[in-house]
């Protein structure tokens, strides 16, 4: 199964591989959410949504549905 950024644990980092372009708004891409960029899950809101990420040094919160559209390669902790 594909791993998405919604699967990250708090504090875990990964690299964005690709995403469904029809479901992810341009604004998010412009924030730096692009293939090849690193992403870290910072915080999950109390009821499980939204999720708060640091992507390419931008701090943004998005909803769970959108996060599930963004695939990620999880970094193996060194």
């Amino acid at each position: 199964m594909q791993v998405t950024i919604a699967d990250l644990k708090i504090g875990q980092k990964g690299t964005i591989t690709d995403f469904n372009i029809d479901e992810v708004p341009l604004k998010l891409l412009e924030m730096g959410c692009l293939p090849g960029n690193s992403i870290e899950l910072i915080q999950i809101a109390p009821l499980g949504c939204p999720l708060y990420f640091n992507v390419n040094d931008s701090h943004v919160a998005i909803r769970l549905e959108m996060a599930k559209e963004i695939n990620v390669l999880i970094e193996i902790n060194i």
């Binding site: 479901e23 708004p25 604004k27 009821l47 390419n56 931008s58 919160a61 998005i62």
Partner: protein, 698 residues
């Protein structure tokens, strides 16, 4: 000697401190207006650059890129594409900040593609050490083909350098810093050949955006260069990636970040402020604190304003030569102005708190915390901002709903925001509560009056949430749940920004609402002191004849005034609507006040003040409150008893009484359907609730 004038446009991402740069450059020499036809705020200021040269600076709405997704952002593109616009800039100043330089530069590279003289401001230089950031400015200037002003608007560093660079804008390069057309060479080549005289990037913007651009026919352009929506989006993605490649390469050599030096306060604060229990607790305390302080702190200045105007009115009456004109001043204008100015303390506090919450970055955390809960009611986490600022005024609140990406959530937010208790309801609440709720303390510390007020606020909020829930079930609109919120770093609010914001907002409130209130009080005064027919003219005679049978000649003057008022134009209008409002427990005077406050709620107090001071004969000074207390019904009981008071409070809590809000809703939803629905449903509901309350309590 003629002065040279340079036109400057300030552009930047939200949260880069663009507005504080604007405030530094222009001070209080600002003019806030609207762009023609739309309700986007337009801020223009003047800055003196040298003895001979001045600059007019336009503060454009914050935007993440030139790919607009809201009308606020459209304003930016339309100005930059239209050379004939009177505000078309000689030089564009792009404001960025050290911590988010990478993302901020995206917009910069887009603007460079428009081949305008462009200047780069890197703000918040005071945080560089804290974050372990070093910048090689000469190298960045060379790579980005621009001049850079490294400034700190907080510490007031580098502003003079910035002014200097603006002054010498003619030396700025207009060359783009990268060639984005490589993403699809064939396509862009064809475009270039077809429109050899046009700038390629402009054409691209017109193709991808919904903007108008000079004499170029959009349809022609789009039909001959048509691509499927998905293809265009793919190209836009490629373009964005291309730009980031360039930015990353540039920053790799021009920026050093030593993250071991970075002290991350943000992470620590986030852990507390977005904590699953603490987060909500803190949010609740913040809200509670705000409301508590607004009512406690503004009481003294409000009482002071109220009594000063009562004094002024009686002073005018006794010191000016008596006549029509004096009456207009003392009975129409002075109480009318008093009715406006009495709000100032509360409005100042409200705007103060709201701008502190926004400036500090806390508001985004509230959005984050509340999103899931709000979605259950068909709202977005971003609805929290309109709902909170709706406690000041629904108009900016409804405009603030613009950044909600999902149309259904945005529409519901717009529709329910007027239920939130706005500052215009406050004086109505305050005065009626003071009349019907005893000034006592429960358990020695909870003020009963304060508690009632708090209940009214909660009632408004509950109604907003409940109607959102119902609307969410009824409205069949499908839209994607896009939701992107930037979480800015925490900052201590800057005194200058907050105070300018508070002053501007208060000013526009006083003058905006003031005009309406003043006009209405003059009209009311006229209608109240003039009347048709014999009854009005011969009032004195009629009353004396009647009174001769009774034994209270002392009150004769008051009775004459009363009789006159009843037979004036306003009395006639009031009596004719009395059957409709009587079941709610109102007499015709209150009825007039309720009707006139459909223009704006705050008119209520002013209207009653005008009606009562026209109707009273005595020269004694009396505050509005005292006059209302002294009003009696035919049976001698006070007009403002508990049942009538509660009925009025409930009516004002729910009714849609604000012409300006309706106008804004029309503009924001682009149809009369929604404001009309609001008017009918809210006011109808208010009538029913007030009716039930009065019938039950009387």
């Amino acid at each position: 000697m003629a002065q040279e004038l340079i036109k400057v446009a300030l552009i930047g991402n939200p949260n880069t401190g663009k507005t504080s740069v604007f405030n530094h450059l222009t001070g209080l020499h600002q003019q806030v207006g609207n762009y023609p036809g739309i309700t986007v705020e337009k801020k223009i200021g003047v800055c003196k650059l040298s003895e001979k040269v001045k600059a007019t600076i336009i503060d454009l709405p914050g935007t993440y890129s030139l790919n607009a997704s809201s009308i606020d952002e459209n304003v930016v593109i339309e100005l930059l594409l239209n050379k004939k616009d009177e505000n078309f800039p000689d030089v564009v100043v792009v404001v960025t900040e050290v911590e988010n330089l990478k993302r901020n530069l995206l917009l910069f590279t887009q603007i460079k593609d428009l081949e305008l003289p462009t200047l780069l401001v890197i703000n918040m230089s005071d945080r560089m050490q804290l974050k372990g950031i070093e910048l090689d400015i000469p190298l960045l200037e060379k790579e980005l083909k621009t001049s850079i002003a490294l400034i700190s608007s907080r510490k007031n560093i580098g502003i003079e350098k910035l002014k200097d660079l603006i002054l010498n804008y003619k030396h700025l390069s207009t060359e783009p810093c990268l060639n984005a057309s490589v993403i699809d060479l064939e396509y862009f080549d064809k475009l270039r050949r077809t429109f050899p005289n046009q700038l390629l990037y402009k054409l691209w913007l017109v193709i991808t955006q919904d903007v108008n651009f000079l004499n170029l026919d959009r349809k022609e352009l789009q039909s001959s260069f048509t691509k499927s929506h998905a293809d265009l989006r793919r190209l836009q993605q490629k373009e964005t990636i291309k730009r980031y490649q360039f930015i990353n390469d540039t920053l790799k050599i021009g920026q050093k970040i030593d993250s071991s030096k970075a002290t991350d306060i943000r992470a620590k604060l986030d852990r507390i402020l977005t904590h699953r229990v603490l987060g909500y607790l803190i949010f609740f305390c913040v809200l509670f604190g705000i409301f508590q302080s607004i009512f406690e702190w503004s009481k003294i200045p409000m009482d002071f304003i109220d009594s000063s105007f009562a004094n002024l009115s009686s002073y005018a009456k006794s010191h000016l030569p008596s006549g029509e004109f004096t009456n207009l001043i003392s009975e129409g204008i002075i109480p009318g102005i008093g009715g406006i100015l009495i709000f100032i303390p509360q409005i100042v506090f409200l705007f103060l708190f709201i701008s502190v919450l926004e400036e500090s970055g806390y508001m985004s955390r509230v959005v984050f915390l509340m999103d899931k809960i709000m979605r259950r009611f068909g709202l977005s986490g971003k609805s929290v901002v309109p709902l909170i600022s709706g406690t000041a005024c629904a108009i900016p609140a409804i405009m603030g709903a613009r950044n909600i990406e999902n149309w259904k959530e945005r529409l519901i937010t717009i529709l329910v925001t007027p239920f939130i208790t706005c500052s215009a309801r406050l004086p109505v609440y305050a005065i009626i509560i003071a009349l019907i709720i005893p000034n006592e303390k429960l358990y020695g510390f909870i003020s009963l009056q304060g508690l009632t007020l708090m209940i009214l606020y909660l009632l408004g909020f509950a109604m907003a949430i409940l109607s959102a829930y119902i609307l969410n079930k009824i409205l069949k609109i499908k839209s994607k749940s896009y939701f992107v919120v930037e979480m800015p770093s925490y900052k201590i609010p800057m005194f200058k920004n907050v105070s300018i914001n508070v002053i501007e907002k208060t000013k526009s409130f006083v003058f905006g609402a003031g005009k309406i209130i003043l006009a209405i009080s003059i009209i009311l005064w006229f209608l109240g002191s003039h009347g048709p027919g014999k009854d009005f003219k011969n009032a004195q005679q009629i009353v004396i004849e009647k009174a001769s049978n009774e034994l209270n000649p002392a009150n004769i003057d008051n009775q004459v005034s009363e009789y006159k008022l009843e037979h004036s134009y306003i009395g006639i209008i009031g009596k004719s609507i009395e059957p409709v409002i009587k079941p709610l427990g109102y007499d015709w005077k209150i009825g007039i006040a309720v009707v006139s406050s459909f223009a704006a709620r705050e008119v209520f107090v002013g209207t009653l003040a005008t009606i009562y001071s026209v109707g009273s004969h005595s020269n004694e000074e009396a505050t509005i409150k005292e006059q209302m207390k002294n009003e009696v019904r035919e049976d001698g009981k006070p007009v403002f008893n508990f049942a009538t008071g509660i009925s009025l409070l409930l009516f004002y809590a729910f009714a849609m009484q604000c012409a300006s809000t309706l106008a804004v809703v029309k503009k924001e939803t682009n149809s009369w359907k929604w404001p009309l629905i609001q008017l009918v449903f809210m006011s109808g509901f208010a009538y029913l609730v007030a009716l039930m309350a009065f019938q039950f309590l009387k």
